[in-house]
C-alpha cells in the first residue's frame, strides 16, 4: 500500500500549521488519494500508474499550500500545550488572549466586578508599596549612602538606651576612632530670622563643616563653609532652597548678603539645591530638616561639659573596606577610652556608669521608626489582595457552571486538559492585568491621598513617585494574583465530566458538588483573612480610644501657648531676661478674657529637658528627672492639680528660700511611704538644694499615652544669673495663657502685647493646647485610620463574596427548593437552610481567623497602647460583628429562596 503522508506533509510544511491540524488535513487527503488509487486499480491500471495518477491530484508541489494559506492562516492554529514546544506557541497564546477578551466582553458584569475587585486589591498594595519603596527601599539621596552611619551614646544603667552625643565625648570619638574617613556633629536649633520682612522663627541646624562633603551634595549657589570657618565667632550661613525662595524670591545675588539670626549678622555664603534635606526626619532627636545651616563651632565650655549637653547627632562615613561590624568593635574601644578619661566626679554622679558609643546605619536610623508600621500595612494590604483573589476565584467558579458545556464541547473536539487550563489561566492573566492597570490609577490617587494625611510626627515622606520598582511590583503582583485566583478554578473547570455536562440540557442542572465545595473554601478563607485584618484594626481602634481616655494630667481646654526666644545679643544679662518675661506676663494678663498666664521652658506633652539631680543625704542616688522652670501661674494655667503643699508664689525669687515642686511619681520613687514635703532635692552643679513645698499630679511629659516620669518644677525667678546666661544661650520660654473665651481668638492681641515690649521678636509655635493634644495623637490616629480603611475594604470584599456565593447557590437550587416546598417545607425552613449554609462558612472562617490573628497580632504590639495584642474583648467583638455581617449578607438570598414559588420553580424544569 502506498505511503501518502510524506507527499502530503511535504506540501503542507510551508504553512507551519499546528501538528494537530496538519495531521487532520493529511489524514483526510490521504484517505481521498487512497480511495482514488483503489478505484484506478479496479479499472485495471497498474499499481505504479495508479499511484502516479492519484498523486497528480495534488497538482504540483505548491498549489495545495497556496490554496490553503488564506484559509488556514488564523483559524485552526490550535494552541500548543505548554512544554510541548512548537513553532506557533506565540500565535497560540495570542489566540488565547483574543479569546479571553471575547469572553470578557461577553459577560461585562462579571468582568467589571472581577476587574474592580482586583484593582482595589492591587491598588491598595501598590499604594503601600510606593511608600515602602520611598522609605525603606530607595537609597538615601546622598553620596554612597550605605557607608553612612549615625553614632549615639547610651547610659543604660541610668535608663537611657539611646541619647544624642555630648561634645566632650564627640572629641574623644574623633581622637580615638579608626573606622571612619570623616565624622561630624549636628544639632537642630531655632533662630529668630529677621532683616527682610517680619521677624520669623526658622528651624536651623548647626552642622560641622565635614558634614556637607560627607553627604556629597554640592551647593546650588556659592559654597559651604570650611573646617577653618567651623569655629566660634565665625558668622556664616548656608540657606536652604526653600528659605531662599520664600524670603528672597530666589534672588541670584543672595551670596554675600547679610542676614540677622537672633539679631546677630551672618553672611550668606551659599544656597543648597532644592531637594537637599538635612537633618533627615526619622531619628528620635535632631530630626527636623533645616531651613538654614550654620557652623557647629564647639565652644571651649561645651568641650569641657562632661556629662552635659547630650544633644548632638553624629554622622560618620565608614572607611572603604571597613564593615559595620568592625566599626562596632571599634566603637567598643572608643567607649573604653571615654571611660578612662571621664572626670571621676561625673562617674560618681552617674553611679559609676560612663556613656557607651553605639552606631546604626543612617538608613536604619531614618527608616527604623516607621518600619513596623509599614510592615503591618504591607501585611494588611496583602491580606486584602488575598481576599480579592478568593472573591474572583469564587466568581470564576460560579461562571464555570455556565461554561461547563462550552468546556465539554471543546474537550469533545479534542482540546487537551493542558490546553484548557492554559486558556483559563490566560483569561485570569488578562483579568489580573486589567485589574493591575486600574490598580495603578487607584494607587496613584491613593498614595497621594494617604501621604497628605501623614502627620508631621511620623517620618513618612509627603509625596512619593511611582518609580520603576513600583511598576515592576504591580506587574509581579498582578501575575501572582492571576495564578492565585486562577489556578483552582482552571483545574476544577477543566476536569468537567464530558457526558454529564453534555447531558445537562438547556435548563440549569445541579451545580457540581466539587465546585460548590471549592467556593465554600474560598469564602471561609475570605472570612478568615478579613477576621485577621478586622482584629488588627479593632486593636488599633481600642488602643486609640484608650489613648483618648487617658488623663494627660492637665486641662488642655482654653489654653493658648507660644514660644518666644530672646536673642542673647539683645538680652545679655539675666535681669533683662527676667524683666522681659515678667512684663510680658503682666501685659498679657491684663487682656480681657485672660484668666491666668505663665511662662516655662517646656510644656506638657513636649518636655525634653532631662537633668541629673541629687537627693540631699543620698550621695549615691542620681535620679534623672524632667525639669520645668516655671514663671507666673504655671500650675493653674495648665490645670495641673495640687496634691499637697502649695504652688509657687511671686515671692519665690532670688534671695528667698530655694523651693521646688515635684510630681506624685517623684514622691513615690524617692520617698515611698514618707511625706516628701520639706525634703530637699537639687542640682549638683551648682550645688543648690531646694526644699520641696508642693506635690502636684503626674503629667504626660511625652506624647499622650507615655508613662509619666519623675518631674521637678522650680521657680524661674530663682534661677541664678549664670544659669540664665549659660553658654551664651538663653533658653527660649513658652508663654501659656488660660482664657475664658476661645483661646485662638486672643492670638493677635497677645502677639501685639509681646511686640509692644520688643517689636523685633518672633513669636513662634502659636497653638492651642488642644491642637497640641491632637498633634500628639496624630500618629496613632493615622495608623488607626489607615488600618481601619483596609479592614473595611476586607470586610466589604468578604461580604460581597459570601453574598455572591449564596445568591448564586440559591439561583442554582431554585428547583430543589421548589421540590422541598412542594413536599411541604415551610418558608421558614427554607430560609433557615440558606442561613445555616452561610453561617457555617462564616463560622469556619471566623474560627480560623481567630487562631491566625492570635499568632499575628503580636507583630503589631509596638503600635498598641493600653491593651494586649490578644485583647479578648476585641477578638470577641470582631467575631460577633463579622458573623452578624455574614448573616446579613446571607439574608437577602435566603429571603429570595423563601419566596420561591414551587409552581414556578418546577415549571422551569
Amino acid at each position: 500500500m502506498p505511503e501518502w503522508n510524506p507527499e502530503i506533509l511535504r506540501r503542507l510544511a510551508p504553512l507551519k500549521l499546528s501538528p494537530a491540524r496538519e495531521g487532520e488535513i493529511a489524514e483526510e487527503i490521504a484517505q481521498h488519494l487512497e480511495d482514488r488509487y483503489h478505484e484506478l486499480l479496479v479499472t485495471g491500471q497498474s499499481e505504479d500508474a495508479a499511484f502516479r495518477t492519484a498523486i497528480d491530484e495534488l497538482k504540483g508541489e505548491d498549489l495545495l499550500a497556496r490554496s490553503l494559506r488564506s484559509i488556514e492562516s488564523d483559524l485552526y492554529r490550535e494552541p500548543v500545550a505548554l512544554g510541548k514546544g512548537g513553532s506557533n506557541l506565540f500565535a497560540g497564546i495570542l489566540q488565547d488572549v483574543h479569546y479571553a477578551f471575547r469572553m470578557m466582553r461577553k459577560s461585562p458584569g462579571f468582568t467589571a466586578v472581577a476587574v474592580l475587585t482586583l484593582a482595589l486589591g492591587i491598588g491598595a498594595n501598590t499604594a503601600i508599596f510606593t511608600i515602602v519603596d520611598a522609605v525603606l527601599l530607595r537609597p538615601l539621596p546622598f553620596k554612597d549612602p550605605s557607608t553612612l552611619v549615625m553614632l549615639n551614646e547610651s547610659l543604660k544603667s541610668l535608663g537611657y538606651p539611646e541619647v544624642p552625643a555630648s561634645p566632650p565625648d564627640i572629641a574623644v570619638i574623633e581622637r580615638t576612632q579608626r573606622s571612619f574617613t570623616s565624622l561630624g556633629a549636628f544639632q537642630n536649633k531655632d533662630f529668630d530670622f529677621s532683616g527682610s520682612g517680619e521677624p520669623e522663627r526658622v528651624t536651623a541646624a548647626s552642622v560641622s563643616a565635614s558634614i556637607f562633603p560627607m553627604l556629597g551634595v554640592q551647593p546650588l549657589l556659592g559654597r559651604t563653609y570650611t573646617e577653618q570657618e567651623d569655629k566660634p565667632g565665625t558668622r556664616v550661613a548656608v540657606l536652604s532652597y526653600g528659605l531662599w525662595q520664600h524670603r528672597y524670591a530666589g534672588r541670584a545675588n543672595i551670596v554675600g548678603q547679610i542676614i540677622d539670626l537672633d539679631r546677630i549678622p551672618y553672611t550668606v555664603i551659599g544656597v543648597m539645591p532644592k531637594n537637599f534635606q538635612f537633618p533627615l526626619p526619622g531619628p528620635k532627636h535632631n530630626n527636623e530638616p533645616a531651613e538654614l545651616w550654620v557652623p557647629r563651632a564647639f565652644t571651649p565650655v561645651e568641650l569641657q561639659g562632661w556629662g552635659d549637653g547630650y544633644n548632638d547627632g553624629v554622622l560618620a562615613r565608614l572607611k572603604p573596606g571597613v564593615t559595620f561590624n568592625q566599626a562596632q568593635a571599634d566603637a567598643a574601644l572608643v567607649t573604653a577610652e571615654i571611660k578612662r578619661v571621664y572626670p571621676p566626679a561625673m562617674v560618681k554622679i552617674f553611679n559609676g556608669a560612663t556613656p557607651a558609643i553605639g552606631l546604626a546605619p543612617l538608613h536604619q536610623a531614618v527608616a527604623g521608626p516607621v518600619e513596623a508600621l509599614l510592615l503591618v500595612l504591607m501585611a494588611a494590604v496583602g491580606l486584602v489582595l488575598l481576599i480579592a483573589c478568593a472573591n474572583v476565584a469564587t466568581l470564576l467558579l460560579s461562571r464555570a457552571a455556565s461554561r461547563s458545556k462550552e468546556i465539554a464541547i471543546r474537550t469533545a473536539l479534542g482540546a487537551s486538559r493542558m490546553v484548557l487550563i492554559r486558556q483559563m489561566l490566560t483569561e485570569s492573566f488578562v483579568l489580573a492585568l486589567a485589574g493591575g492597570a486600574l490598580g495603578i490609577l487607584i494607587a496613584f490617587w491613593g498614595t497621594s491621598g494617604l501621604l497628605s494625611l501623614v502627620p508631621s510626627s511620623l517620618a513618612l515622606p509627603h509625596s512619593a513617585s511611582l518609580g520603576g520598582w513600583v511598576l515592576a511590583f504591580v506587574a509581579t503582583v498582578s501575575c501572582l494574583t492571576a495564578v492565585v485566583f486562577g489556578i483552582a478554578p482552571a483545574f476544577q473547570v477543566s476536569s468537567v465530566h464530558l457526558q454529564g455536562s453534555l447531558q445537562e440540557s438547556g435548563r440549569s442542572g445541579t451545580p457540581s458538588r466539587a465546585r460548590h465545595r471549592l467556593q465554600g473554601i474560598f469564602v471561609a478563607a475570605e472570612f478568615a483573612l478579613a477576621m485577621i485584618l478586622l482584629i488588627g484594626a479593632g486593636l488599633l481602634i481600642r488602643s486609640f480610644s484608650k489613648l483618648l481616655e487617658t488623663n494627660p494630667g492637665f486641662r488642655p481646654d482654653h489654653v493658648l501657648t507660644m514660644s518666644v526666644a530672646l536673642p542673647f545679643d539683645a538680652y545679655t544679662k539675666a535681669p533683662e531676661v527676667r524683666q522681659f518675661y515678667e512684663q510680658a506676663i503682666e501685659r498679657i494678663a491684663s487682656l480681657p478674657g485672660v484668666k491666668s498666664v505663665a511662662a516655662s521652658n517646656d510644656l506638657p506633652l513636649d518636655s525634653a529637658d532631662n537633668e541629673v539631680l541629687q537627693v540631699e543625704g543620698r550621695p549615691d542616688s542620681a535620679p534623672i528627672m524632667t525639669v520645668t522652670w516655671a514663671l507666673g501661674d504655671y500650675f493653674s494655667t495648665m490645670g495641673i492639680p495640687l496634691i499637697k503643699g502649695r504652688f509657687f508664689t511671686p515671692e519665690d525669687r532670688i534671695g528667698s528660700q530655694p523651693v521646688a515642686v515635684i510630681n506624685e511619681e517623684t514622691a513615690k520613687l524617692l520617698w515611698p511611704g514618707e511625706n516628701a514635703l520639706g525634703k530637699r532635692l537639687g542640682h549638683p552643679f551648682p550645688n543648690m538644694m531646694r526644699t520641696i513645698v508642693g506635690i502636684v499630679g503626674d503629667v504626660n511629659d511625652g506624647p499622650l499615652g507615655s508613662k509619666p516620669g519623675p518631674h521637678f518644677y522650680l521657680p524661674y525667678l530663682q534661677l541664678p544669673d549664670d544659669y540664665i546666661e549659660y553658654g551664651n544661650l538663653i533658653i527660649p520660654l513658652n508663654l501659656a495663657l488660660r482664657t475664658s473665651t476661645d483661646p485662638g481668638s486672643l492670638t493677635s492681641a497677645v502677639v501685639a502685647q509681646i511686640h509692644s515690649l520688643d517689636p523685633q521678636l518672633a513669636v513662634a509655635k502659636i497653638r492651642t493646647m488642644e491642637q497640641g493634644m491632637a498633634s500628639s495623637i496624630a500618629a496613632p490616629k493615622f495608623n488607626t485610620f489607615v488600618l481601619g480603611l483596609f479592614a473595611f475594604l476586607a470586610l466589604f470584599l468578604a461580604t460581597i463574596g459570601i453574598y455572591g456565593v449564596l445568591a448564586y447557590g440559591v439561583a442554582q437550587q431554585t428547583h430543589e427548593i421548589g421540590i422541598r416546598m412542594a413536599l411541604g417545607a415551610q418558608r421558614r425552613d427554607v430560609m433557615q437552610l440558606i442561613l445555616v449554609q452561610g453561617a457555617r462558612l462564616a463560622l469556619v472562617g471566623v474560627a480560623i481567623g481567630l487562631l491566625a490573628a492570635f499568632g499575628l497580632t503580636r507583630l503589631m504590639s509596638s503600635l498598641l497602647y493600653g491593651i494586649s495584642a490578644s485583647d479578648p474583648l476585641t477578638f470577641a467583638a470582631v467575631a460577633i460583628v463579622l458573623v452578624a455581617v455574614a448573616l446579613l449578607a446571607c439574608y437577602i438570598p435566603a429571603h429570595r429562596a423563601m419566596r420561591v414559588d414551587p409552581m414556578v420553580a418546577l415549571r422551569y424544569e
Binding site: 484517505q31 490554496s67 484559509i71
Partner: protein, 114 residues
C-alpha cells in the same frame, strides 16, 4: 484556449453551489463529493484534491458546512460534511440567483437564435 478559460470561470463561480447542493440531502465525505461532481457532470467538471479540500475548509469556516470525523467499523475514519442551517439558506439564495441567471441567459440566446 477560450473554452478552457470559460470552463475555469464556470467552475469557480459554481463550485460552491455544487458542493453545497451535494451535501444538502445527507452528509458526504470529500472523495464522495468529488466523485459525484465528476459523475453528474459526465466528466465535464472535475475537482482535484488541491482545490477541493481548501474549498471545503473555506465553506466550513464560513459556517456553511460542518465537518465531523465519523468512524465506521472495519474502516478508517472519514470526515463527513453536512450542510448547516446557515449553509441551507445560502444554498437556497444561490440557487435562486442561478435560476434567474440561467433564465436570463436563455432569454437572450433564444431571442438571438429565433
Amino acid at each position: 484556449m477560450e473554452s478552457t478559460s470559460l470552463q475555469t470561470e464556470w467552475k469557480r463561480g459554481s463550485a460552491e453551489l455544487l458542493i453545497l447542493s451535494l451535501v444538502e440531502a445527507r452528509p458526504r465525505h470529500g472523495y464522495e463529493i468529488s466523485k459525484l461532481i465528476e459523475q453528474r457532470s459526465g466528466g465535464a467538471v472535475r475537482f482535484h484534491v488541491a482545490s477541493l479540500y481548501p474549498m471545503l475548509y473555506r465553506l466550513e469556516r464560513r459556517g456553511w458546512l460542518c465537518g465531523r470525523w465519523v468512524e465506521k467499523s472495519g474502516q478508517r475514519r472519514r470526515r463527513y460534511y453536512r450542510l448547516t442551517h446557515q449553509g441551507r439558506r445560502v444554498l437556497a439564495s444561490h440557487l435562486r440567483g442561478w435560476h434567474e441567471f440561467v433564465v436570463g441567459i436563455n432569454r437572450i440566446t433564444e431571442a438571438e437564435n429565433a
